[in-house]
């Protein structure tokens, strides 16, 4: 009985803490539904008395959000594909062997993981403009994101490969599989979940990427949603309900995916970042 009361009490406190922590999200959703005058009411209204559902259609149309989100999608899918194709094999080899060279490789990759994007963008911009990559700005952004995020992906996926028992692969080799065959038929399927979760994390990051897109993409019709949000927020804006509606449309799919896959994402993240 006392055990039950303790659990209820702790759960109650946890819910309060979560409510406080997640308040900014709630505020985004509520503000998006407010009328212009309700937004600036004092004291602020915590429940929308007169929800303005039409705001989503209005913002979607007036800010041309379909195009922005499409560009975000193109960039994120491109970056994830490139990272997955290049990164999976790299992570596999780094997980399979233990010697000095592997340590050196891993060290280099961890070092690349830490380079801040806003500090790398100057040489990337100048270099890309010299080799003509700025002609295809979305591809340029995909390449830049791939270079930035691949180390993180490799570290996470390596942890997934580490949990695949090597004996299974050896048994497949004894049975007459080639290395390639064993890799695709045995190892890859067993690490599939870890790879998928890591890919989803990279996708979420690339979907919200800002600094490379802002600097490399000049043409408005090729810019992703993060840059669109940035141009929406002028220094003296008072359209906060519209901006929050934009943010809501932009972020809700990401949040939904996260909540659905939460347990796996947290597990994948914790196994990679500290190990």
């Amino acid at each position: 009985m006392s055990e039950q009361i303790r659990n209820r009490l702790l759960l109650g406190v946890a819910l309060v803490l979560a409510a406080i922590y997640l308040f900014p999200l709630y505020w985004m959703y509520v503000t998006a539904l407010k009328t212009g005058s309700a937004m600036f009411a004092t004291p602020p209204k915590f429940l929308p008395s007169d929800p303005q559902w039409s705001i989503y259609a209005y913002v979607w149309e007036s800010r041309n959000m379909g195009r922005y989100l499409w560009n975000s999608l193109v960039i994120a899918v491109g970056a994830v594909s490139l990272i997955a194709v290049l990164g999976v094999g790299c992570a596999y080899v780094l997980a399979r062997y233990r010697n000095v060279w592997i340590d050196v490789g891993l060290f280099l990759i961890l070092m690349l993981q830490v380079l801040p994007a806003s500090l790398m963008i100057t040489p990337i911009f100048v270099g890309f403009s010299q080799v003509g990559l700025l002609e295809t700005p979305r591809l340029a952004v995909v390449l830049a994101i791939a270079a930035k995020s691949m180390p993180f992906f490799v570290v996470l996926v390596r942890a997934a490969f580490m949990s695949v028992p090597m004996e299974l692969e050896e048994a497949a080799l004894v049975d007459g599989n080639s290395r390639i065959g064993a890799f695709f038929n045995i190892v890859l399927p067993l690490a599939r979940n870890g790879i998928l979760v890591s890919a989803i994390l990279i996708f979420m990051q690339s979907f919200g990427e800002f600094v490379y897109s802002k600097s490399l993409i000049q043409a408005v019709e090729l810019q992703p949603a993060s840059v669109g949000l940035n141009t929406f927020m002028g220094p003296n804006t008072n359209e906060w309900n519209n901006i929050m509606a934009y943010a809501t449309i932009y972020v809700t799919p990401v949040l939904a995916a996260f909540v659905l896959l939460q347990r796996r994402i947290v597990a994948g993240l914790t196994s990679g970042a500290l190990k």
């Binding site: 990164g87 994007a117 500090l119």
Partner: protein
């Protein structure tokens, strides 16, 4: 030729191929820009020489000029303040939450995971939300602070030079706390339970147990998290772009935003590259600490 082919299919060639391809890609896309960055910091780069490789070398002139500028010192100081305040806030709140969720109860791990939504959201969206929460006249944060009796008049978080940096710090603490909490939870769950049972039998109080068991057992985790915090806060760019844009009058400017601002707003690519070189060296030192603190785990 046949030998090479069969090695690729069935031997070490397979492994080397798998590693070499991504390493070449990373070398071209990260290594070369890194080198190019250093080169540019010793050159005179302007809008006209942007397209050519041959530019006049000016030695350490960019570095000397940089440190002669009056805003350099305050911005370096802001960076240090931003990083240390953010890490301290994220770590303390994150540790408190991790300890709380460590007391196992039904739903604990699910709720704890839910906190991580702050971390997966696009940085610019986080910036937009906090920009609105922190606004001076109608911001909801000022309302809460007034109601709690902490402040009398409104604080103009984004436009008052005394508070502008703290506006970004608050948003950044919110953004990073959950990540700290999750990693600290992993560290906590690695401590054997019987240590606590033994200490309890010996009559150690909760505080004593925390300082003699929890903290020492968590030492390598804490080291890794602080190093990661340093790396992540030095990467933070979106919140500056979303909340204050470094203003007013550079009062909330930090090096990683300034480097971008110099290159892409003022078209002073040489100075942007110069700051980048300095900061990247600093970040790399921090990452060596991080890699060292996780090294025993890396070896698996």
């Amino acid at each position: 030729m046949k030998k090479i082919l069969s090695s690729v299919k069935d031997g070490t060639g397979f492994d080397i191929g798998l590693v070499l391809l991504p390493l070449v890609f990373l070398f071209v896309m990260s290594g070369l820009p890194l080198v190019y960055n250093v080169v540019m910091s010793f050159q005179e780069v302007d809008m006209f020489s942007l397209g050519s490789f041959a530019r006049p070398f000016v030695g350490f002139k960019n570095y000397v000029d940089l440190f002669a500028q009056p805003e350099t010192r305050p911005i370096l100081f802001n960076t240090a303040l931003f990083v240390s305040a953010s890490i301290a806030g994220q770590f303390v709140i994150g540790f408190g939450l991790a300890l709380f969720f460590w007391m196992n109860f039904p739903g604990a791990s699910w709720l704890r995971g839910l906190f991580l939504v702050s971390w997966v959201m696009p940085g610019l969206v986080v910036g937009a939300i906090w920009n609105w929460i922190l606004s001076g006249d109608f911001g909801v944060l000022n309302f809460f602070l007034r109601e709690l009796g902490i402040i009398d008049g409104n604080i103009f978080w984004r436009s008052d030079p005394h508070y502008s940096l703290w506006a970004v710090v608050i948003a950044n603490i919110w953004l990073g706390t959950s990540f700290n909490m999750i990693l600290l939870s992993v560290g906590l769950s690695g401590i054997p339970k019987d240590l606590y049972e033994a200490a309890e039998l010996d009559g150690a109080t909760m505080l004593q147990r925390f300082f003699t068991i929890t903290l020492p057992m968590m030492r390598s985790t804490i080291g890794a998290i602080v190093a990661l915090g340093l790396i992540f806060t030095l990467q933070q760019f979106d919140l500056f772009a979303g909340i204050t844009s470094g203003g007013p009058n550079n009062s909330s400017n930090v090096t990683q935003y300034w480097a971008w601002d110099l290159s892409f707003r003022q078209y002073d690519f040489a100075k942007g590259a110069t700051i980048s070189v300095l900061m990247i060296i600093f970040v790399m030192i921090a990452s060596v600490v991080y890699v060292r603190s996780t090294r025993h785990e890396v070896r698996g």
